[in-house]
């Protein structure tokens, strides 16, 4: 895409509506991705044709299996007048929210961002297309300034806004509040790129940037489903108001919750898109146990079920037959082994040895029973930006424990010291993953490693963000909608914090910063691929292993679903319950 094409790209309202009309709540999938539980595992019967491994630990063929086709499922033409728009969509809430304040909890904020709050635009995952929501146009005369014209919308009819119109000043206040919040975004766009926001009139918002940033409009930055939520000015200046009540201008309005559990929302009849949403409400039921969620789905108490593994999916499909639909997608959550980059791991040969000692085929077989794909630093779903599998096979995906051992020996690595692998215990999978990492490091490289489990909060805030680990930390990355987030780990500073692993490389740091300013898509794509190659040459301490397939089951009365567009589908207003 040309430079002009990128900055001046816009999508008409009609296009927006057509896209939204396809419908689909993949929210559970996205949220599960954020919480690290979005990957499915399946029993061996599910031979997906993925790279296989023999039972004696030798690597299988280093070929990459074909990914599930990411197709956008078209919606059949429906007669809107025949749709019962009063049915409520029920989904699962796997954990109670610690708060309903979107600025204080990621999962809460994302759920509300897709429902209660409106946004100016959203960039789709599959096409990287900027779709206008409240915005009617985005004009960008130069890389440092852009102006957004907004359409007409009103807030929910509750004090203090009492149904007043959404104004440009609300957007300014919302963005400024998001920029000040230290908990809702890990992106430094808010502090390093965003300079100021002005509102010449009630329907115009002008953004001034400190530096060009080609990723400004993506879901990680100014198009974040959380940070770009439009909140009334009265509340944005006092975000603690949202501890008690929520007022937005989204297609649903807040009804109730029970100490963070069982949130309920009902249709907002004055939603800016007339006639939508096509459901009377959106409710979540707190079901913490997977077995209970399975039973609730079978009993139609919830309309959607995210299978944890292929065995679960197969069993339900066998039990319920054609009454259920299965949507399969490739997640963007990369299962990652992160080493330290300092101390005993400062020598790149040590990190290279670890690259060589990890057998990806074994992870895919044991964790996912074949239902997964090997990944480089950028997941394969981002076809444009990911390195191709031939190149990855010769670099990131090499498995040669003998050479790894030689490298450790040459680097003088102390094999008698016991290192730790830190992981969180929110779900079963990180523990299983950590066990396999431990097994492979011990067996393939002769390293001594112990497992250290932590609760998610401690793990995230201290071990990961503050780099408090000795040796290894393992996790699935977030399931991002834009590719730039994946390479941010190579910077010296990540989200305002020093690099989690202690990795400090001037060349990569500058390259990551520089690509943001490359406006031309082709050049930026090349730069991003080059960054990945450099990361391998320097054996950056973030070792990407694989991404899993995700299976979401829906009762087939849930219609208008949108599949394959990432979390863009979560803004869908034309999902309906046909029963």
């Amino acid at each position: 895409m040309s430079e002009a094409g990128y900055w001046q790209r816009r999508t008409t309202r009609r296009q927006t509506l057509r896209g939204a009309a396809l419908g689909g709540l993949g929210m559970a999938a996205f949220l599960a991705g954020c919480s690290g539980s979005n990957n499915n595992k399946s029993k061996p019967s599910g031979n997906s044709g993925s790279a296989s491994s023999s039972a004696n630990g030798t690597p299988g063929p280093a070929t990459q299996a074909a990914l599930p086709t990411l197709t956008v499922r078209p919606t059949a033409v429906v007669d809107e007048s025949k749709i019962n728009k009063n049915n409520v969509y029920h989904d699962r809430q796997s954990q109670p929210w610690p708060t309903i304040n979107p600025y204080k909890d990621l999962v809460t904020g994302l759920t509300l961002g897709f429902t209660i709050f409106d946004h100016m635009w959203y960039t789709t995952k599959d096409t990287n297309e900027r779709v206008l929501f409240l915005a009617t146009s985005i004009e960008q005369p130069d890389p440092l300034n852009f102006t957004v014209k907004i359409g007409q919308a009103v807030f929910h009819d509750k004090p203090p806004t009492s149904g007043r119109a959404v104004k440009a000043s609300d957007i300014k206040a919302s963005y400024e509040a998001a920029a000040q919040s230290k908990t809702i975004s890990n992106s430094d766009w808010w502090t390093k790129t965003l300079d100021s926001i002005t509102t010449p009139d009630d329907s115009t918002v002008t953004f001034k940037l400190k530096q060009p940033d080609a990723w400004t409009f993506t879901s990680t930055n100014a198009g974040s489903p959380l940070s770009s939520s439009i909140i009334p000015q009265e509340i944005a200046t006092q975000p603690d108001f949202m501890d008690k009540d929520l007022i937005g201008s989204g297609r649903f309005q807040w009804v109730s919750h029970e100490n963070g559990a069982n949130p309920k929302m009902k249709r907002f009849d004055k939603w800016r898109v007339a006639g939508e949403p096509w459901t009377g409400g959106y409710e979540q039921k707190l079901i913490q146990e997977q077995a209970a969620a399975d039973a609730a789905f079978v009993a139609q108490q919830i309309d959607h079920f995210a299978a944890q593994n292929k065995a679960e999916k197969d069993q339900l499909v066998q039990q319920l037959g054609k009454q259920v639909d299965v949507d399969t997608t490739v997640t963007g959550a990369i299962w990652t082994v992160q080493t330290r980059a300092d101390g005993a791991f400062a020598d790149p040969r040590v990190r290279q040895a670890i690259y060589l000692g990890l057998n990806r085929d074994e992870y895919i077989q044991l964790m996912e029973f074949g239902d997964a794909a090997k990944s480089g630093p950028i997941p394969p779903a981002f076809k444009t930006y990911a390195l191709d599998s031939d190149e990855l096979t010769k670099t990131f995906w090499q498995f040669d424990p003998a050479q790894g051992k030689q490298l450790l020996q040459a680097a003088g690595f102390d094999l008698s010291h016991e290192y730790e692998i830190k992981y969180y215990i929110l779900t079963d999978k990180p523990a299983q993953f950590a066990q396999i990492v431990q097994g492979q490091l011990q067996k393939n490289l002769g390293m001594k490693v112990k497992l250290t489990a932590e609760d998610f909060g401690t793990w995230l805030a201290k071990s990961l963000y503050q780099g408090q680990y000795d040796g290894f930390i393992v996790y699935p990355s977030l399931d991002y909608d834009d590719p730039s987030s994946y390479i941010g780990a190579y910077s010296k500073v990540i989200g305002g914090r020093p690099n989690w692993s202690g990795f400090k490389d001037d060349e990569l740091d500058q390259a990551v910063a520089a690509q943001k300013a490359i406006i031309d898509d082709t050049q930026r794509t090349a730069a991003i691929k080059d960054i990945q190659r450099k990361a391998y040459q320097k054996f950056a301490p973030f070792i990407p292993l694989y991404v899993a397939y995700q299976s979401d089951l829906f009762w087939n009365y849930v219609k208008g679903r949108l599949v394959g567009r990432g979390s863009y589908g979560l803004f869908n207003g034309r999902l309906y319950i046909d029963k």
Binding site: N56, A311, E312, A431, Q432, G439, L451, A453, E454
Partner: protein, 303 residues
């Protein structure tokens, strides 16, 4: 010397010498009186042997990934089947005996011994010592065990030592009350009063007359508490609060992914570790009951 010893072992009985039955004969007599206790003892000995030699007896390394096909069923090579990481479940159950029995056994030994000591002190000295110790015990008893454990994790970190500490502290005061009551009874017996009247020091009365007579109760407490400790250790592991995942442990093997796959038809993943827990607890409880019967004169001959 030998003559003196023999004389001491002989009692005058109707004008003739009565020989005290030998140890084996007495043990046999007790065994016949408490067959379930013997059964429990044998089971427990069996598990202790497993704990000592289980990892050596295990046909596969219990940590080894892909000892066979993941989720493989029961077979001669893998009599208990394999979990989803391809680890041999039979080897894990054998090796798990060590983890479970070491943690629960150590905890119950520490908790039972300290609890007994506290109880005896409390019962013997009474007054402010008794008041202080018993009120402290009541405060501990009012504290939920799980929260106590979470606090200990925060303070000392996750790991076997913390579990041992938590289980020991949890069982500390329960046993102390029983020992306190027994000590109070003992303190007022005629022979203790006689010893005092003869001028024995409090220390001598305590160590020579009271402690030896209430100490057998400690064994009962420990054997009775072992079953509860095994269950508690398994429960903590089941909740993900026990030893690190991957460690062979019965509690871990009935939780997590094994539980998920058991729901999907792989029943063997939880049945065999669960059976091991049940049998070990049953053995400990049967032995505890029998010992209580033996040492508590009020219960003798009732069953």
């Amino acid at each position: 010397m030998a003559a003196a010893t023999r004389a001491a072992g002989e009692l005058a009985w109707g004008g003739g010498a009565w020989q005290q039955p030998g140890l084996l004969r007495r043990a046999g007599r007790m065994a016949r009186g408490h067959p379930l206790g013997v059964f429990g003892l044998l089971m427990l000995i069996g598990f202790i042997v497993l704990g000592l030699f289980g990892p050596a007896l295990a046909p596969y390394d219990p940590h080894a990934l892909r000892a066979g096909a993941p989720l493989g069923g029961l077979s001669p090579r893998h009599p208990f089947g394999l979990n989803n990481l391809g680890q041999d479940l039979f080897s894990r159950v054998l090796a798990g005996a060590r983890t479970t029995l070491t943690i629960s056994g150590t905890a119950v030994l520490i908790g039972g011994s300290l609890g007994s000591f506290i109880g005896i002190l409390s019962g013997f000295y009474g007054r402010w010592v008794d008041y202080l110790l018993q009120r402290s015990g009541e405060a501990f008893a009012a504290f939920p065990g799980l929260i106590l454990y979470l606090m200990l994790i925060t303070a000392f970190g996750r790991g076997p030592k913390t579990i041992v500490l938590a289980l020991a502290v949890g069982g500390l005061f329960g046993g102390s009350r029983i020992l306190r009551a027994a000590t109070i009874v003992e303190r007022h017996t005629t022979y203790v009063e006689a010893a005092r009247a003869l001028g024995c020091s409090e220390r001598r009365v305590f160590f020579r007359h009271v402690v030896p007579n209430v100490l057998p109760l400690t064994v009962v407490l420990i054997s009775g508490g072992l079953g509860a400790a095994i269950l508690a250790e398994s429960a903590l592991a089941f909740l993900g609060l026990g030893v690190a995942p991957g460690t062979p442990s019965w509690g871990i093997d009935i939780s997590g992914a094994n539980l998920t796959f058991a729901r999907l038809g792989h029943w063997n993943l939880v049945v065999f570790p669960g059976l091991a827990i049940s049998l070990a607890v049953l053995g400990a409880n049967l032995l505890g009951d029998a010992l209580r019967d033996i040492w508590d004169p009020r219960l003798r001959g009732r069953r």
